[in-house]
């Protein structure tokens, strides 16, 4: 039997929803324990006083990336059946720019706004309300502008494909970038104290 387990027929639909709940609980728990339900802590990333966002995000990416890489190597996980977000080059660069500006204006991202709200923070509730308005407005408008919304589609495009390197080489490259970033983050935090 090869994972993903849902594809392998291990779980019924209702059991998979229970798993979604359990995974969500663990996700929210990890974000809260890291301090990422706190807008002031998140914004330390952008004032360069507290680089927790970078450290948490990149250690999570590296852990999941190495785990899935080695499970696939061992033949226990079929990577081709794990969801990879489609690439739309222009929409994702432009969307990322809009998102990043909104993140720093609002102080919390979508997932962390849910944690903030769940821990009693009213700014988290305000971000959630704004998000709902934003996705509703953009969800109505953007599909009517396909020249922008559907521009530069590349389907499932991964770094190894785009750079013409092996999957393992791309994994190694991301690990090196992350470790370099961790050293830089520590140095920046020291210099700001």
């Amino acid at each position: 039997m090869i994972a993903p387990l849902v594809d392998a027929g291990v779980f019924s639909d209702s059991a998979s929803l229970l798993l979604a709940l359990a995974i969500g609980v663990a996700f929210g728990w990890a974000l809260e324990r890291a301090g990422l339900g706190n807008a002031r802590k998140l914004m330390g990333q952008f004032t360069l006083t507290d680089l927790t966002v970078f450290k948490v995000m990149f250690s999570a990416i590296v852990t999941a990336m190495l785990g899935s890489f080695w499970l696939a190597r061992l033949g226990w996980l079929d990577l081709s059946r794990v969801y990879v977000p489609d690439t739309f080059i222009v929409p994702q660069i432009l969307g990322g720019l809009i998102f990043g500006a909104g993140f720093v204006a609002g102080g919390l991202c979508p997932g962390t706004s849910c944690v903030a709200a769940a821990t009693g923070r009213l700014d988290g509730v305000a971000v959630i309300a704004g998000m709902l308005a934003g996705v509703t407005g953009a969800g109505w408008l953007l599909p009517r502008v396909p020249a922008l919304f559907d521009a530069t589609p590349r389907g499932v495009l991964t770094l190894p494909d785009a750079l013409h390197i092996s999957y393992g080489a791309a994994v190694f490259f991301v690990v090196v970038v992350a470790l370099t970033g961790f050293r830089a983050a520590t140095a920046i935090e020291r210099s700001r104290r």
Binding site: P4, D7, L19, A20, I23, G24, V25, G28, E32, R33, G37, R40, T47, M57, S59, I61, T63, M65, G67, L71, L77, V82, Y83, V84, P85, D86, T87, P91, Q92, L94, G95, G96, I98, F99, A101, G102, F103, V104, A105, L108, C109, P110, G111, C114, A117, A118, R121, L122, V127, G130, M131, A133, G134, V135, T136, G137, R154, L157, T158, L159
Partner: protein, 152 residues
């Protein structure tokens, strides 16, 4: 009530978060997400069909439960507005709503947010995810000087 416990070591918390993401890959063949749940709720509010409680909406209900429980057990649960020292609560809430609306628009255009594109697509080495991460951080640093006074 006793003083709130300090936050966890960021690398340990990050590795834990990474194991949760890996579990989602192994169990469900999909990663974590957040903006997708907002889009589903928005579709329902506009009268869209389909089940209310699909994977992503149930996952976000879990995030709320897990985040709230963790904060409560650590003595960090309190009603407050997290803001800079010289910013009014109402000003902070208005900025939060405005920033949320911008993020919503950005997430629809990019087809994801820091969770679905950043964590999930980042770990799966999606090119679009890494472009999104780079653009979001760049715009964050470009925006901070404009709003910096609000975060002192």
């Amino acid at each position: 009530m006793s003083a709130p416990k300090p936050y966890a070591n960021p690398y340990l918390a990050g590795a834990g978060l990474g194991l949760v993401l890996l579990a989602a890959f192994v169990v469900a063949g999909r990663g974590l997400g957040a903006s997708g749940a907002f889009i589903r709720v928005s579709e329902h509010l506009r009268g869209g069909g389909g089940p209310w409680f699909d994977w992503i909406v149930v996952e976000i209900i879990g995030v709320v439960a897990g985040g709230g429980l963790s904060a409560w057990l650590a003595g960090r649960w309190r009603v407050a507005v997290d803001r800079g020292a010289d910013r009014s609560a109402s000003g902070r809430l208005a900025a939060a709503a405005g920033g949320g609306a911008l993020m919503g628009a950005g997430a629809v255009l990019a087809r994801g947010c820091t969770s679905g594109l950043g964590l999930t697509g980042g770990a799966m080495l999606s090119v679009g995810s890494w472009l999104f991460i780079a653009a979001a951080f760049a715009a964050g640093y470009a925006t901070m000087p404009i709003v910096r006074r609000a975060w002192r």
